[in-house]
Subunit: 179 residues, 4 copies
C-alpha cells in the first residue's frame, strides 16, 4: 500500500490485553504504531516486541497508541490463541494484541490489506489516519524515535502542534517546556 | 539556563574536524546538537560519543548539525589539544569538535554559559537558535531520536515544516514521502 | 541431587536433531552439558539457548556434548512436540534436543530425577559420568567456559584435579564442592 | 615467541595499583593473565579492559593473577604515566598495571620480548611459568574462560593435561599447540 493512504481497518478474530475491540477510526487524532509479529519469529522476540514495549513506555498512551498484530502465516497449528496467550503472559507484554483474522489460505486479512511482507513489520499511522511508514524488518530505536517524534509533532488539524511535550520520554519532558 | 532561551555563543580555543571556526548564528535554520564530553570520561566514550556519531549518520547534515564540545573540567594536564587529537584519530570521530575555552579556574567558558553539570551532556538547539534540551547523563536512542525528530519537524519560520523526510534514517525515508 | 553423584539416565519421550536415542552411558568419556529449557521461557530464549549454541560451536563435539532438554512444567497444551519442532526450526537450533517424559502431574521425569528448580537450568557431567554442576538461572559465558575448560582438562581415568573450585564464579562455587 | 616457552620477565618502568614491583618468577604456581593495552586503543577500552576486570572478579586472586601491561607504541607524548593514572582512576581499574619500559625507538621492551603484534593482546602463563597463549585481538569470554579453567585445573607439579586443545575456540587453538 502507498504512504499517505488511509490505513485499512484492522480485521481481528480476538483481542488480548484490552477491555474490548479496538478500531483505528476510534483512534483518529493519535499516532498509532502497529507491530506485526509472530510468537515463533526470532527477530520479533529478540528485537521487535521489546522495542514495541519501549515505545509504549516512552510515549504517552493518549498520544501514541501501540498495537500488536499477530499475523500468523506459517506454523498455524502451534500459534493459535491459547499458545499466544501463554506467550504474552510469559513475556509480560502489556499493550493490546489483536489476532489477525484468517479466512482461508495462509495469509490473514489485515496482513493482506497492508501488504505486509513478513514479520517483524512496523506500520506508523498519523493523527489523520494515514499510513506514513510500512517497514519490514528491523528498524533502529533512534530512527523509530525520530519518526514517531515527527508524527507526534503534527497536529490532527493537518498542521503542526505547538506542544512538543507528549512524544518525549519522561526524563527529558520538562526541559522542553517553555519557562 | 532556561529552555527556549537563545543559545549562548560557543567559546572555542581550537576547532578540530572543520575547515574553520563554526558559529551557532551561522547555523540558524538547522537543528543543532551539542555533545559535551571529556576524552577520559567513561560514559562519554562508551555511550555519548557513539550516539553522537549515530545521530551524524542518521540525520541529514544540512538539517541537523552535530558538534562535539570538549569541556575539560578535570585532569587538564592530560586532556590537552594533542591528546584530544590522538583520541579523535583513534576513535575515528567524524563530526566537528571544539575545545571549550579555559580562561581561569577549572570550568571552561561554554560549559559555564550553558551551566552544564558534567559530562556527558547534551544540548539541543532548535531552528530558531533556542535551547530546547539541556540534559546531563545518558539519554536513550529512542528518546533522543524523538526529540530531534520533533525539532526537525518544526520550520524555521516559527511554525512547522510540511516535509518530514530530512530527519529520518535513509532506510525509511522513502516510506514517508507522499506518493 | 548431590555433586559428584552419578548422573541419572535421561527419560525422553522423543528426540529431535538426532539419528536415534542418546544415552548418557554411551557418552561416558566426554564432558556433557545438559541445557534444560522451555520454548516459552524468555530467559531460555534470550540467554540459555544462544549460550548452548555457542558452547556447541566453541568446543569439539567428540569432547563436549551439548544436549537440550525440553522440561515442560507449565502451559503443557501449547508446548507439545509439534510446537517445539517449529520452534527449533525457526531458531535454527543444531544440537540434539530430548523431550523430557511426562507420566503424570506437571513435572517430567528427568526434571524430577535431577531435582531441577526451573528453566533455564544447566547440568555439567564429567568424563566419569558424574554431575559436577547443577545450576538454575543464568550463568556468565566466562564462568561456564571456565567450568567446561576444567572438566575438559580432566582425564577419563579418574585423576580429577582437586582444585575445581577456584576458577569458578561465586554463584556456582558451592555446586562444585563434593558433598 | 613459542607456546610452552618460559615467559620472559616483565620490563616495567613504573607500577600502578601495587605496593611494589611484581615479578613473574614470584608468581610461579599461579596462572597469570597479562593484558597488553593502550589507553587510547578503542578495542582495549571497549572490550579488553572490561574483560580483564571480569577475570579479576571471577577467579580467585591467589589462583589467577591479572596484570595490565601498558605497551605504548604510538602517541607516546599523550600516553605518559600521568595520563595513564588519570585513565586508570576514571575507569576504576583495580588490578596492577605496569608501564612497559621504553628505551629507544617506538616499541617498549616487554612488548618486544613477547613479540606482541599490537593491542589488545592477551598472554596466559601457566603455573610452571610457561606461555600457553599469546593472542592478538579480541577473544570471547567463553573461550577465555575455558583456557583459564584448563590452566587452573593443572597442578604446579607439571602433570599437565595433554589435551589442552579441544576445549578452545578455533581462533586460539593453534596458539596452544606445543611447537
Amino acid at each position: 500500500m502507498k504512504p499517505f493512504e488511509t490505513a485499512p481497518p484492522l480485521e481481528i478474530s480476538e483481542w488480548i490485553n484490552t477491555h474490548g475491540p479496538l478500531s483505528l477510526s476510534a483512534m483518529r487524532g493519535r499516532v498509532v504504531m502497529l507491530h506485526a509479529f509472530q510468537m515463533l519469529c526470532p527477530g520479533c522476540v529478540a528485537h521487535g516486541l521489546p522495542q514495541a514495549s519501549k515505545v509504549r513506555e516512552m510515549f504517552a498512551e493518549d498520544d501514541v497508541a501501540v498495537i500488536g498484530l499477530h499475523t500468523v502465516f506459517e506454523h498455524h497449528d502451534v500459534m493459535g490463541a491459547n499458545a499466544l496467550k501463554a506467550f504474552i503472559h510469559e513475556y509480560r507484554l502489556r499493550f493490546p494484541v489483536g489476532i489477525d483474522k484468517l479466512v482461508s489460505g495462509h495469509i490473514p486479512l489485515t496482513m493482506q490489506a497492508y501488504a505486509l511482507q513478513g514479520t517483524p513489520s512496523l506500520v506508523l499511522i498519523d493523527r489523520l489516519g494515514r499510513v506514513r511508514l510500512n517497514h519490514f524488518g528491523r528498524i533502529e530505536d533512534m530512527a523509530l524515535g525520530a519518526l514517531i517524534g515527527q508524527l507526534s509533532g503534527e497536529s490532527s488539524m493537518g498542521d503542526v502542534a505547538t506542544q512538543v511535550v507528549n512524544a518525549t520520554g519522561v526524563c527529558v519532558t520538562m526541559n522542553l517546556l517553555p519557562d
